[in-house]
């Protein structure tokens, strides 16, 4: 894999609270390249969700830099950062977070709502994304009328609909039984093979091992990265 780095973290720390301060992340550096499929794995409380939020620019690091497609997130204001999220980052959450009163198609199309894409185009792309996750036949259903696995597929389609630079998934199989979870893993691998850049967070090492790359974290620090050294070198040589 020799794609451009789409996400780079450099010495990222995150400290919560004042007394006593909790260091959720302590100097995390790695980069994710175009088309990569990586798992961030660690036990509960190790800082995975914090890391995902920082990677997704939902939260700013206490120190260190986050670059999306070479753009330093630190320099962007709320509006610019929001537009960056709208266009370059797709999120998948453990709880799906689908709008119950909207159809599957509308839920997926809303992935582009804040990206400045006109409605007909949003729906056209939503149909494409639903096709990719194999749910074209459920487009007009309400999320309450489909299974948990299908809901997570809808959420994945919503994350993919804008063809973002990177998809961040936080325990995407966490609310699913193991068989449904396995099919979601298959889908993620398929999407990865088709060129999407996906980072999945999990506490389950066996799930992480199904992906090409594993970044293991413990107590807010990267303890191993199956291809970390190389990436760090790249990140450091990048002009900032």
């Amino acid at each position: 894999m020799s794609g451009e780095p789409v996400l780079e973290l450099d010495e990222v720390t995150k400290v919560y609270g004042e007394e006593p301060p909790v260091a959720a992340l302590r100097g995390v550096s790695f980069s994710i390249r175009q088309g990569e499929l990586a798992a961030i794995v660690g036990p509960s409380g190790s800082g995975k969700s914090t890391l995902l939020h920082i990677m997704g620019t939902l939260e700013r690091p206490s120190s260190g830099t986050v670059r999306i497609r070479g753009i330093d997130a630190e320099r962007l204001d709320d509006r610019e950062l929001s537009l960056l999220r709208a266009r370059e980052i797709g999120f998948v959450f453990q709880q799906f977070f689908l709008a119950e009163h909207a159809t599957v198609r509308e839920n997926v199309a809303d992935g582009l709502l804040y990206a400045g894409v006109p409605a007909p185009e949003r729906y056209r792309r939503a149909d494409e994304a639903l096709e990719r996750v194999g749910l074209s036949d459920r487009a007009t259903f309400k999320p309450t009328k489909i299974s948990g696995g299908q809901r997570q597929r809808v959420a994945i389609a919503r994350a993919l609909v804008g063809s973002p630079a990177i998809v961040l998934a936080d325990e995407p199989t966490g609310n699913l039984d193991s068989r449904t979870g396995a099919s979601i893993m298959d889908l993620l691998r398929e999407l990865g093979a088709a060129g999407s850049t996906i980072v999945m967070i999990t506490h389950d090492a066996s799930l992480a091992d199904q992906l090409p790359r594993q970044i293991r974290i413990l107590d807010g620090q990267v303890v191993s990265d199956s291809r970390g050294d190389h990436d760090l070198t790249v990140a450091e040589s990048e002009p900032s």
Partner: protein, 407 residues
Amino acid sequence: MSAASGRLSLKDGLRVASVGLRARRLRAALSALGIAIGTAAIVAVLGLSSSSQAGLLAEIDRLGTNMLTVEAGQTVTGQPVELPTEAPSRLTLLQDVQQVAHTGLIKGKGVYRSPIIPATQTGGLQVRAASLDLLTVLNTNVAEGSWLNPGTARVPVAVLGSVAAERLGIGAAFTGERVWLGGQWFDVVGVLESSPLAPDVDTSALIGYPAAKRYLGYLSLARGVRKAGPPSSIYVRADTDRVAATQPLLAPTANPREPDGVDVSQPSDALTARAAAAGAFNSLFLGLGVVALIVGAVGVANIMIISVLERRSEIGLRRALGATEGQIRMQFLTESILLAAIGGIAGVLAGIVATAVYASSKNWAIVVPVEAWAGGIASAILIGAAAGLLPAIRASRMSPTEALRTV
């Protein structure tokens, strides 16, 4: 990267802002209800007062403002002064006077349903002799039957004013009805509609001057001749443009010897004052409307605060999908405004319907002032904005990660 390209279209903005309302329709309807009640009360109060004013003004217009009333008054020392019998004919000679009619109050006589009713129980009704052109001058219509004519003016028949007919219990089917008047039966030949320019007529039984003279001994000496009379109220129609000029001439003309003992008035003045009073809305109901509106506003604010708390994950998701703080703030602010505006519009419609129903039952024109309905909707929108501002700011300040955290 231009931030403007992430702006929502109006349609998308409204769709997003109505998500919460569509998801919880009953709750939205109930919180809009408070605003609706307040707005309806205010619109109805303003609408009804305008409509009743319009009704009175229309009536004044129909009755004309060019009528002057000349009545027997008192001397400076309080002695009653009768009008001379020839006063009506003298007034007719004035240049700008078009028509003159008159009634003479026959004191000490009552009108009763039957002879067994004690004479003191007059029911507030009076007996008056009336000149035959009275109805023309007063612009009063006959409700049932007919008015007096030169023939019936000489015989014991009576025409009842609207209130008198009602009190005596004589309605539409009065044929053959009689009233006991001055010790004998008088046949009722007609009933009048109400006579706003001369309320005294409403409470009277009217008979002809010749009949009054003959059967009730109502006469006075004028230049040595015993004539029926004297008149106690003279109704004068003047040239519409000359009313003000004519008014001061009436007292000296009617009674040159004692002009101070004559009361001259313009009855449409009283009606105009009543119209002005009707236009002054009922401030009690208006106050209640305002209170309902305030309670409604508190309700909307309350619902919006709860809504923001309940929809934390929606807020977090929207931020993850790229909504700016401003867009989240706008979403909740618009939702609150929509909620209040729905209440406001429903209230305005209810207020208009209430006004329409009441006004048409009174035969008034339906008048809902622009200030009332536009103001109703505008104040609902302002209330929505005020009630939603704090919750909307809270929603936008919520950190995305906090919003996404599920408890």
